[in-house]
């Protein structure tokens, strides 16, 4: 979930059925739900809660790029995405799902309408639907990653320090440690002997070596 969902209108679900919906006793196996936007959206994610739908196909009505008269075209983004591994059993029947931009066959850009085609081939269930449909727009700063914002706090990136010409703190501290160790040794092994100047008979002339 990146950011906030886009405001949209979810139209009422239409059943695809031959014959009269009201009088026929056969239940439809396909439902269509349209989601309409006020203005064109670049979609990042579609999230929803499943209610016994087995397969989902997503088609979008895209405004063609570079067309002045605003012509639109229907393209398929996701074909027969499986929500329930076995349409007759409960697995996945009430789960929450997300379909990301990266999983789609075509780029969902400049989209005015999203059509969700739900299929449930099993006769075991009385009704099926998808609920809590939320569509999230593409947010440009995060367009490189599809990691949701609540995850980014888990792996923080360390920023490099701006040193401004100063030496690297780690190097300085390691050499300081050695110097400190030396001073500790010095302090612990203090003698009462004075450190005299290393002169020989009052002269610093080192032409003469002394072995004393």
């Amino acid at each position: 979930m990146t950011g906030n969902p886009v405001d949209c209108t979810v139209k009422s679900t239409v059943a695809l059925q031959i014959g009269d919906v009201v009088s026929d006793s056969f239940r439809p196996g396909v439902y269509i739900t349209d989601v309409v936007f006020g203005e064109p959206v670049n979609i990042q994610e579609i999230s929803f809660k499943n209610s016994y739908t087995a397969f989902l196909t997503v088609r979008v009505l895209r405004k063609e790029a570079g067309s002045e008269d605003g012509s639109t075209k229907w393209v398929t983004c996701v074909r027969n995405h499986c929500l329930m591994a076995n349409p007759h059993t409960e697995e996945g029947s009430q789960d929450y799902f997300s379909i990301y931009r990266q999983q789609m066959l075509t780029q969902p850009d400049n989209v005015t309408t999203v059509r969700l085609i739900q299929r449930q081939p099993s006769s075991v269930w009385l009704n099926f639907n998808i609920e809590e449909i939320k569509i999230y727009p593409l947010v440009h700063e995060d367009s490189e990653r599809d990691v949701p914002s609540w995850l980014s706090t888990i792996t923080p990136v360390e920023e490099p320090l701006d040193l401004n010409g100063l030496p690297d703190p780690d190097e300085v501290s390691s050499s300081i440690q050695q110097m400190w160790a030396l001073t500790e040794i010095m302090q612990s092994s203090q003698t009462s002997a004075s450190i005299g100047r290393f002169d020989v008979d009052g002269s610093y002339d080192i032409n003469l070596l002394s072995y004393t």
């Binding site: 929450y96 997300s98 099993s122 009385l126 599809d146 995850l151 780690d170 190097e171 390691s174």
Partner: protein, 517 residues
């Protein structure tokens, strides 16, 4: 569906979170702090040096073992960000509702027992009583309190009725119109595995693999089978000495050698007996001495009615009290309810919470077989608690989990329907639905029905495969074994009589024949 990278980050974050709360974390910190004094650790490469040291000293292996335990066993999968917490525990709304109303019923029953008998749910013990209990701690079995007024809150057959009445409101149950007609008792369409899929999932049980429990019988002459058994035992010795939890789980699929079973199970369950665990147990013991719970009387009653009457387990009566009384006060068990949709009933005394898992008739049988493996109460407690939190709780709560009792019942019925349809039909016709007989075995994971050595071999596989599915398979295998006799019976009572005594059964041959032959 999140992509793999995202799922991995979330899983890693969850493991790190669990590590922070575990005893292992403080051990790691202590080790890392101690190694700082060592000369080979330099400040400029501090991270790398400490990491190398931990690897060389073998500490890294502990972390790997911990990770394996987290990943392999019972780490709940990351839920969808939009999913509320109760959905992550149990995705199906009608199951959550059924569990909640079942709990309400139990609580109501408990409260009415309270009022009827005039016994409080929880009360502080007066000092003389505390002293007496402390003195008698190791021999509580000699106590003969008046328990005639108490009755178990529920028995397995009451729970079975609840499961039978469980229905999905969206399920079309008109007769003859369902894709899968339910001629069994369970009306829920959960995904359960059939025999071909079981063969793929349980290859270690196949006829060609060495099984401890078949191939280590004394009357088998020396030969290739006894050599394989020796190899199995040697491998287990190595696994225990290396403290390798993941390997222990893998090898336990072929059975644990009797002498090493206790250590292998403790390794698989990550149940330690460190000073912290002993201290935790002592704290629970102190809680038992200070406060008396109504549930304690139910525990006493249950032990007296079941384990004390059992030829194998009556000697462990005192141990059972020591474990179960502490268990009913252990609030650390509450955290496992974060991935179980059940909510335990809580009672309060002066603002302090007491968690109680309400025992049903036969609850003490979950602990009894473990008494053969562990003789130290704190170790026994540790192991039992882990086993309850991973497996046993699923046997008496309503959920859609593949190891849950609903799935096990459905799997049992489906296996029998697919492989012995004539037997199933015959039993159904005479009013002896197979589940009514097998339910009590499955709810106790066969404890008290099989002989102990066979039961422990079964529980080896439960731990090895981290699933209770094998319990359902064994139930079907038992019916298959006695199929000829069962085809002759004409009533529920005679069917129950045929299946009354399972103490002579050998678990592994039954399972192998049912799955692979």
């Amino acid at each position: 569906m999140m992509d793999e990278g995202t799922e991995l980050s979330v899983t890693i974050a969850q493991i790190v979170q669990r590590l922070k709360g575990a005893h292992l974390h403080s051990q790691l910190e202590k080790q890392a702090r101690e190694c700082l004094h060592r000369p080979e650790i330099k400040l400029e490469s501090l991270k790398e040096d400490v990491r190398n040291f931990l690897r060389v000293s073998g500490t890294q292996d502990w972390v790997y073992s911990f990770m394996c335990v987290c990943v392999v066993c019972s780490l709940p999968p990351p839920g969808h960000p939009a999913a509320p917490p109760e959905h992550t525990k149990e995705p199906l709304a009608y199951m959550r509702k059924a569990q909640a109303s079942w709990e309400k019923r139990i609580l109501k029953s408990l409260n009415s027992m309270c009022t009827e008998l005039g016994v409080p749910l929880a009360r502080k013990r007066p000092i003389p009583e505390q002293k007496e209990l402390t003195n008698k701690w190791n021999e509580m079995g000699t106590d003969e309190p008046d328990l005639s007024k108490f009755r178990p809150v529920y028995a397995p057959k009451d729970f079975l009725e609840v499961l039978i009445s469980l229905k999905n409101p969206n399920h079309d149950c008109r007769e003859g119109l369902t894709a899968r007609s339910h001629w069994g008792l369970i009306q829920i369409s959960l995904n359960v595995r059939a025999i071909p899929q079981m063969r793929e999932a349980y290859p270690e049980l196949s006829l060609t693999c060495c099984q401890l429990g078949i191939d280590d019988h004394a009357h088998i002459p020396p030969g290739i089978e006894s050599f394989s058994v020796c190899v199995c035992v040697c491998v287990c010795v190595l696994v225990v000495s290396e403290q390798d939890s993941a390997a222990a789980q893998q090898y336990s699929r072929q059975g644990c050698p009797t002498g090493l079973r206790a250590q292998l199970w403790a390794l698989i369950l990550n149940a330690t007996n460190e000073p912290e665990d002993i201290m935790h147990y002592e704290q629970l013991k102190a809680a038992v001495i200070h406060h008396d719970l109504l549930v304690d009387n139910l525990i006493y009653k249950d032990v007296k009615l079941t384990a004390s009457n059992d030829d194998y387990y009556f000697v462990f009566e005192d141990f059972l009290y020591q474990v179960l009384l502490c268990f009913s006060r252990d609030t650390a068990v509450l955290e496992h309810f974060s991935y179980n949709s059940a909510t335990p009933p809580k009672s309060y005394i002066q603002g302090k919470t007491f968690m109680s898992v309400v025992p049903f008739h036969g609850f003490s049988m979950y602990v009894a077989p473990l008494c053969f493996l562990y003789n130290e109460p704190s170790k026994l407690y540790s192991v039992f608690r882990e086993m309850y939190v991973r497996y046993f709780f699923r046997l008496h709560s309503i959920s859609s989990s593949p190891s849950g009792i609903v799935s096990l019942c459905l799997q049992f019925e489906r296996l029998l329907q697919s492989h012995l349809p004539q037997l199933f039909y015959h039993l159904q016709k005479i009013g002896a639905q197979p589940l009514r007989i097998a339910f009590k075995w499955m709810v106790r994971a066969f404890s008290g029905y099989l002989s102990t050595d066979q039961l422990l071999l079964l529980w080896d596989r439960v731990l090895g495969y981290d699933s209770l599915e094998i319990v359902a398979v064994l139930a079907a295998a038992v019916f298959a074994f006695r199929a000829e006799n069962l085809m002759e019976v004409t009533s529920l009572a005679s069917a129950e009589a045929v299946l009354a005594d399972l103490s002579t059964l050998k678990v592994m041959p039954l399972l192998q024949i049912f799955l692979f032959a």
